[in-house]
């Protein structure tokens, strides 16, 4: 099966590349001068940064939200006069590339960003499985990469050029387990996960470990594969084990189907998940079925802090709609990069890497970001609850 899907994907990638090629011929050649050997700006006084994300595809809202967040940060920094690197002022230009959420496309688009657009830093992706394909390319070319929201620990293990501004799955899984055991007082939990996603499997493992350590019991563990639409068989088996809650570390479009089908089967227990749930589409499409459910997120738009209030109102003015956690992380990732550029000795990959790595207590909308030795952000997890058709802040869980 995978073979056939791979074949299809390969065919579609070829098609996309052909289209890309056709488009590129039409666009004017990049301005000469300044480029050459240095990866610095292709035009003097301008820095190009790249973003690769799922602008279309099954997880399109992830890529689009992130892109919006980055765009907002770029707009703000340019309005404030740009960034100053080693005493020279630059404006920032953003080039966004679409991965369609397909891991096999990541290498191609990241290579294009680095070799053709000469970006000094790459932002992206959301999905860990895609980031894991983009990261080695950045490492190879010596261009720093900041992933706003890939939470799988392996992503930053690719090399010293790879950073993230979000928490990692072990902590997210642990926070969900703590919340289920402590706040929801659940003793028996069933797990339903996407076995084809590194993110989902990783989160499941960490949740199970922490939940058992907290004295809970995992009564049923069922799997599905990305692309599945019918979860009735898995849910029926879970129903047999009558759990107090179901942990579903999947992505929002699958969670929508799971929520709808579980309620039709007469299952009323709360569903619990990770930041893969974070999309307004989930609430819109699952409606009543998702009421009283929880997920762990990077921030909650209704948290009463000054940064969040300002961010939410400017985002609303620019793009309409409340920014989700991915938009907030895209915004934070880009702003952390600009702040690091201000401290960097030059725009070379290694100098920029060192500057990013030194970020300590950076004030982002998703909380204070401190990068540790593993280039991962250490920050708190926010649990949000669906109540009255809104996702509202429920609890904040601090890192150890």
């Amino acid at each position: 099966m995978t073979g056939t899907i791979r074949l299809w994907s390969a065919i579609s990638v070829f098609g996309a590349m052909a289209l890309l090629g056709a488009c590129e011929k039409k666009s004017p050649a990049p301005a000469p001068g300044g480029g050459g050997g240095t990866p610095a700006a292709s035009t003097p006084g301008e820095i190009t940064i790249g973003h690769y994300g799922s602008l279309t595809g099954a997880q399109a809202t992830f890529g689009k939200s992130t892109d919006n967040g980055i765009k907002l940060a770029v707009k703000e920094v340019n309005a404030a006069g740009g960034v100053t690197v080693a005493g020279k002022k630059y404006t920032v230009r953003l080039v966004s590339e679409d991965t369609e959420g397909k891991p096999e496309k990541a290498g191609t688009v990241v290579t294009k960003l680095i070799t053709k657009d000469k970006v000094v830093c790459v932002l992206g992706e959301v999905a860990s499985s895609v980031s894991l394909q983009g990261a080695p390319v950045c490492q190879e070319y010596g261009v720093p990469m900041i992933t706003p929201s890939s939470t799988n620990p392996d992503v930053t293990k690719v090399g010293d050029m790879i950073f993230r501004v979000c928490f990692i799955d072990p902590f997210q899984g642990e926070a969900c387990a703590k919340f289920a055991r402590g706040e929801l007082k659940a003793a028996k939990v069933a797990v339903l996960f996407d076995q084809a996603s590194a993110y989902s499997v990783g989160l499941k493992d960490e949740f199970n470990k922490a939940f058992k350590a907290a004295g809970g019991e995992i009564v049923s563990e069922q799997a599905y594969t990305q692309g599945a639409s019918d979860f009735n068989a898995q849910l029926t088996r879970i129903r047999e084990s009558s759990p107090d809650a179901i942990f579903i570390p999947g992505y929002y479009s699958d969670v929508t189907n799971i929520a709808l089908q579980s309620r039709k089967l007469g299952m009323k227990m709360p569903l619990l998940g990770g930041d893969g749930w974070d999309s307004e589409e989930l609430g819109k499409n699952a409606g009543e079925s998702i009421e009283g459910c929880f997920y762990s997120n990077h921030y909650a738009p209704d948290q009463p802090t000054e940064e969040i209030r300002a961010f939410v109102s400017t985002y609303k003015a620019d793009f309409g709609g409340v920014p989700d956690g991915l938009a907030a992380l895209g915004y934070d990732g880009a702003r952390l990069l600009f702040e690091a550029m201000g401290r960097a000795k030059s725009l070379s990959g290694t100098d920029l890497r060192d500057a990013i790595g030194q970020a300590r207590g950076f004030k982002g909308v998703t909380g204070a970001i401190t990068l540790n030795d593993h280039r991962d952000a250490v920050k708190n997890v926010v649990m949000v609850e669906r109540r009255g058709g809104q996702w509202v802040f429920r609890a904040s869980i601090e890192p150890k």
């Binding site: 099966m1 056939t4 899907i5 299809w8 065919i11 579609s12 098609g15 279309t56 595809g57 099954a58 399109a60 809202t61 369609e100 076995q195 069922q222 799997a223 599905y224 594969t225 990305q226 692309g227 599945a228 639409s229 019918d230 009735n232 068989a233 898995q234 029926t236 088996r237 129903r239 047999e240 479009s253 929508t256 189907n257 709808l260 089908q261 039709k264 089967l265 007469g266 589409e281 819109k284 499409n285 699952a286 409606g287």
Partner: protein
């Protein structure tokens, strides 16, 4: 007991959907001897058009609860629109290369499939976000056995699929155009010498296949209510499974497609419910391998010796 009944119900529900979609693959293969890879994209088109029609209807009538005819009207509209789309696809993409080597036609089919997928992703078409279809059938519970609910929606879904299959059966075996289809499927050249209007028969096949695909898409939308964007992997998987159903039943054989669809649906559900849920797709494609090894013509198919 609950689980057995629930699994049986789910297996029939998903199996009848696979069967409906498999019919389109098998009909086109029977007549043109090529696999119409764009067929699953017509299913997607049907699902999305059902959504658009349903929304329009909801806006126009402003119903609180859907009237009984709402579902039927949307189904007919979607089937008509997809029949037209199927007609156009055949005329514009396949007819010009009739008689070309089979590989050319196959690649054209993949091209049509990619075209439909990428068109559908455009914001002015359906966009990339998943959408929710308004409730078209009152989801009342008819009766409950143990913990298993049988709803009006289940009945409507399976009933529609069965009615369409019975209708097709009648069309193929009891009408003039059906006789034409069987004749062309037997031998295009001979049929045309006997005065069968081959082009019209082929067009009709595509129109019927696409209308059934639209019905499949409509029932899918009704069953799952969330419709994912046109290039989502779940559609590819749906198309592949329906295709497997056609092959398992015996490709080119209309009754075989129905049988194959039910077999695949049952296997998938029972495998997930009683063996490992992580291997749902393995059961389906494992069956395909087994059938190809033991009975390459499919359950109801005839072994054909290829003349070289």
């Amino acid at each position: 007991m609950d689980q057995l009944l629930q699994t049986l119900k789910d297996g029939i529900a998903i199996g009848s959907l696979y069967a409906l979609i498999a019919l389109g693959y098998t009909m086109v293969y029977g007549i043109l001897k090529f696999i119409n890879f764009a067929h699953s994209d017509v299913v997607v088109l049907g699902a999305w058009l059902s959504l658009l029609f349903a929304r329009k209807l909801e806006a126009v009538t402003g119903w609180g609860a859907p009237p009984w005819w709402a579902g039927a009207l949307v189904l007919i509209l979607a089937m008509a629109a997809c029949a037209l789309a199927g007609f156009c696809i055949e005329r514009l993409a396949y007819k010009p290369i009739r008689g070309a080597p089979r590989l050319n036609v196959l690649i054209t089919a993949i091209g049509v499939s990619l075209f439909l997928q990428n068109m559908g992703q455009q914001e002015w078409m359906f966009g990339t976000r998943p959408a929710n279809i308004p409730a078209l059938v009152n989801d009342a519970t008819l009766f409950t056995v143990g913990r298993v609910n049988f709803t009006l929606l289940d009945a409507a879904g399976v009933g529609t699929a069965l009615a369409l299959m019975v209708g097709l059966e009648w069309l193929v075996f009891h009408t003039k155009i059906g006789r034409g289809m069987r004749a062309v499927s037997h031998s295009t050249a001979t049929a045309s010498l006997m005065g069968v209007p081959v082009n019209r028969v082929i067009s009709t096949t595509f129109v019927i296949g696409s209308a059934l695909a639209a019905a499949g898409g409509f029932l899918w939308a009704l069953k799952y209510s969330q419709i994912k964007q046109t290039a989502d992997t779940s559609w590819t998987l749906l198309g592949l499974k329906a295709f497997v159903a056609a092959v398992v039943g015996g490709i080119g054989n209309v009754r075989g497609a129905m049988l194959g669809g039910l077999a695949i649906g049952m296997l998938e559900m029972f495998g997930a419910a009683y063996l490992w849920s992580s291997m749902t797709d393995v059961y389906v494609f494992g069956l395909l391998i087994a059938v190809l090894l033991l009975r390459p013509g499919g359950i109801l198919g005839k072994a054909v010796v290829e003349k070289v």
